[in-house]
Amino acid sequence: MRRNQVAVVGAAETTELGVVPNASQLQLHADAALNAIADAGLKLSDIDGFATAVETPQQVCHYLGIKPTWVDGTSVGGCSFMLHVRHAAAAIEAGLCKTVLITHAESGKSMIGKLPRSIPADSLQGQFEAPYGVYGPPSMFPIPVLRFMKTYGITHEQLASVAVVQREWAAKNPRAMMKDPITVADVLNSRMIAYPFRLLQCCLVTDGGGALILTSADRARDFPRKPVYIMGTGESVETPMVSQMETFNSSRAFKVAGPLAFKEAGIAHKDVDHLMIYDAFAHLPLFGLGDLGFMPYEETGKFIADGNTRPGGKLPLNTNGGGLSYMHSGMYGMYALQESVRQMRGIAPAQVPNAKISVCHGVGGMFAASGTIVFTNER
């Protein structure tokens, strides 16, 4: 795909984030969509392309009253929205549609109108993982981390520092769920969830949503907000079974999606001003820094523990506070994208001064899928 041909012209989260007991999951989609449409200065009838995950495009389009000529229901977990951005950019360039709305919402905490997720007993997961006591992401996502730590000499304290640094960013964000400062000792003394991870190393569980609107870069000039251009994109999938990853020393999906996006954008690591790495759990930023080629894996833990990713550090990472402290409704990728867009617009609560290139890297499932978007505010 050619760089900077498509731009984000509308971006918004739901009016409320956190605990939203007065709205169903479907209504949260609509709330985010209406906010994004208002942000872009558009009408619902201007939308001719639509993408969403978990909920079906037909469900959300009907609820909103949208008549699309292009839809994408790619649903590969929390990074689905990165894939939607990639697919939408290609569709706009190909002339299949002009203005794409992407929505996410999840009633992750209040569970109102939330679709049940179950594992059939005759699926491969049902036969070869479920019988061993896996029960939700906290029991599955951290399974690779002890091997990763042993291979690269990563310490428990370094993994705790991920949560500490992100809390520093969250403190600057009025909409972050958790803002009180924490220390490495606080993290290592918090309740054990699934060894080696404790409560403060696991993502929040909240309600909320977000929406994006994309159109061609040529049209983007006429919109009220500063356009944020899609500079590069990548995607991949590996396996829905964490036990069947090729290795626990890296994520194959990360190693495909990340470099694809960098190559397409034509950028080097030193060009990155701002970075988002989907942090459902504390080890993900370490995998991301290594798999995207920012540094050798051995250095990732020390890099974060030394403060390089905190406010004022040389590589600002997860500047909204991340899934650990900002919010995590279940599919956090949309919130990572929203923060990248805010940073490129120059309106983030914890704004990185003069940031021109933002890399937004997502994970789906337990390392099952990945999507990477490189944004820029210069064409």
């Binding site: 594992i119 059939p120 007993a121 005759d122 491969l124 049902g126 036969q127 070869f128 993982e129 479920a130 019988p131 061993y132 006591g133 896996v134 029960y135 939700g136 906290p138 029991s139 599955m140 951290p142 399974i143 690779p144 981390v145 002890l146 091997r147 042993k150 309740r191 054990m192 969830i193 699934a194 060894y195 080696p196 991870f197 079974m241 964490v242 036990s243 069947q244 626990f248």
Partner: protein, 137 residues
């Protein structure tokens, strides 16, 4: 009220040989007749070269502890926390999720790379699960 039970696998035509094997006290894997690739989970073709000529064989049942978590909460039905959810790398190459039995469920006892051997745990008259225990000797 009945105790909540752990999740029961339900075999499919492609996996039936595996579950017949565990019931007979064997850990069965598949090997490609064309390229010799050994793989898991079961399927009637080779995921490395796409050949449909594959054979089922009895694996050694030996391997080592590749990684794990010790789950505290929430616990799956039929499990008393804390319990380890492990990934075992078999001597033949493939990895599989399992539980580690006859061993304290602690970081001190569960050392990465420790040698393991398969054991079998009958869930009912249809399904026997392969689990692993520290290798003897």
């Amino acid at each position: 009220m009945a105790e909540p039970q752990r999740a029961r696998p339900k075999p499919t035509p492609e996996t039936q040989h595996f579950w017949d094997g565990t019931k007979a006290g064997e850990l069965r894997l598949q090997r490609c007749d064309a390229c010799a690739h050994v793989y898991f989970p079961p399927r009637p073709f080779c995921p490395s070269c796409a050949s449909r000529k594959v054979s089922v064989f009895k694996a050694s049942g030996k391997g080592f502890l590749y990684s794990y978590v010790i789950n505290h909460r929430p616990a799956a039905p039929g499990f008393a926390p804390p319990y380890a959810i492990a990934v075992v790398e078999l001597d033949e190459g493939p990895r599989m999720m399992s539980n580690i039995v006859d061993c304290p469920q602690t970081p001190e006892a569960l050392e990465l790379n420790m040698k393991l051997e398969v054991a079998f745990e009958a869930l009912d008259d249809k399904i026997t699960l392969p689990v692993f225990r520290p290798a003897k000797g």
